[in-house]
């Protein structure tokens, strides 16, 4: 069975690479206070593709770089408006184990605590305990929310603050972001109509997950006023 996350990638895989007659992507626009994170080459490639193909459909979008444990948030026009460190699933891999979204957290083995790669339509919705979260992949219970600090032994805040991405793998699959980033960037962008989440792979080739992303490379470095 093909997951909903993979379906768009498969559709795009049918397009011959380089066949598009569209012009080269415009340089990535960045607001002055978009955060200190530097986009990696895969982030630039996916950004260039999204903006050039207008794959976000006029909605805000986020790109999560699992390798760098960093999130980049863009407004509907493709301007980078913020970046921050993230915590992601402790299990390495780009897929979700079948049925993992319906398991109790305590029954999910470490190997299945993955943050799946792919393109997702992200939207605010209810979760258990009547709380609202930004659902990324509802079927597999992957959401984006402020960092959880209920278990002190996990040292999640310290992990977010440390400069190395190596210790940012601690969650059961969800994406944790700093509270200020969630309130100041994610909620204002996604609360009205939702948006698109692109979670970059760490094991599979980028072109396998986002086939059309190999068409264009983005450019970076042209700041704009907020």
């Amino acid at each position: 069975m093909i997951s909903r996350a993979l379906a768009p990638a498969i559709l795009f895989a049918a397009i011959p690479i380089g066949a598009s007659a569209k012009p080269a992507p415009a340089p990535m626009r960045i607001v002055a206070d978009a955060g200190p994170a530097t986009p990696s080459d895969p982030v630039l490639r996916v950004t260039g593709w999204v903006i050039n193909a207008q794959d976000n459909g006029g909605l805000p979008f986020i790109i999560v770089d699992k390798v760098a444990a960093t999130i980049f948030a863009f407004d509907a026009g493709g301007t980078l408006v913020g970046s921050a460190p993230v915590l992601i699933g402790i299990g390495k891999g780009d897929d979700s184990a079948p049925g993992v979204g319906d398991k109790a957290l305590s029954r999910i083995p470490v190997s299945q605590r993955t943050t799946p790669a792919g393109r997702y339509f992200a939207k605010y919705g209810f979760a258990s305990r009547n709380e609202q979260v930004l659902w990324i992949d509802y079927a597999n219970a992957v959401s984006l929310h402020p960092v959880i600090t209920s278990n002190a032994k996990e040292h999640r805040l310290q992990r977010l603050r440390s400069p190395s991405p190596d210790d940012n793998r601690i969650t059961y699959g969800c994406i944790n972001v700093p509270k200020s980033f969630y309130a100041g960037v994610i909620r204002p962008l996604f609360k009205p109509k939702g948006g698109v989440a692109y979670i970059l792979p760490e094991s599979r080739p980028l072109e396998q997950v986002f086939a059309a992303a190999s068409i264009q490379r983005g450019q970076v470095g042209v700041p704009v006023s907020p």
Binding site: R4, A7, P8, L11, F12, A14, I15, P16, A19, S20, A21, A53, Q54, D55, G57, G89, V100, G101, D102, L105, I108, R113, R119, Y120, F121, K123, G125, F126, A127, S128, R129, N130, V133, W135, Y138, A139, N140, A141, V142, S143, H145, I148, T171, Y172, G173, C174, N176, G194, V196, A212
Partner: protein, 96 residues
């Protein structure tokens, strides 16, 4: 007088030979040019066909890209609806 006559005869023979040789060379060149022209005409026809095929392929690729984008947006809308229905039935616990 005899020497002059002989010289004139030799000159006439030489000129005739040269003239005949020149005619043969021009004919040969004309044939070669005609052959090349035929090949150029044939190639022009093939280039035209390839160009048409390339344009058709490009148009098809663009149409496919447009269709894929439309399909993506329909999937987005459907995903949102399905998730909404699922959430009404039972709210999941996020994998914190």
């Amino acid at each position: 007088m005899t020497v002059l006559g002989t010289s004139m005869k030799l000159a006439v023979v030489a000129l005739t030979g040269l003239s005949l040789s020149a005619c043969a060379t021009e004919d040969y060149v004309d044939k070669q040019i005609a052959t090349v022209n035929d090949r150029i005409t044939a190639l022009e026809g093939r280039v035209g066909q390839v160009d048409q095929a390339a344009q058709a392929a490009n148009a098809a690729a663009q149409a496919a890209g447009s269709s894929a984008q439309q399909a993506n947006q329909r999937i987005d809308a459907l995903t949102s609806r399905v998730d909404g229905i699922e959430q009404r039935l039972s709210s999941k616990r996020p994998r914190n």
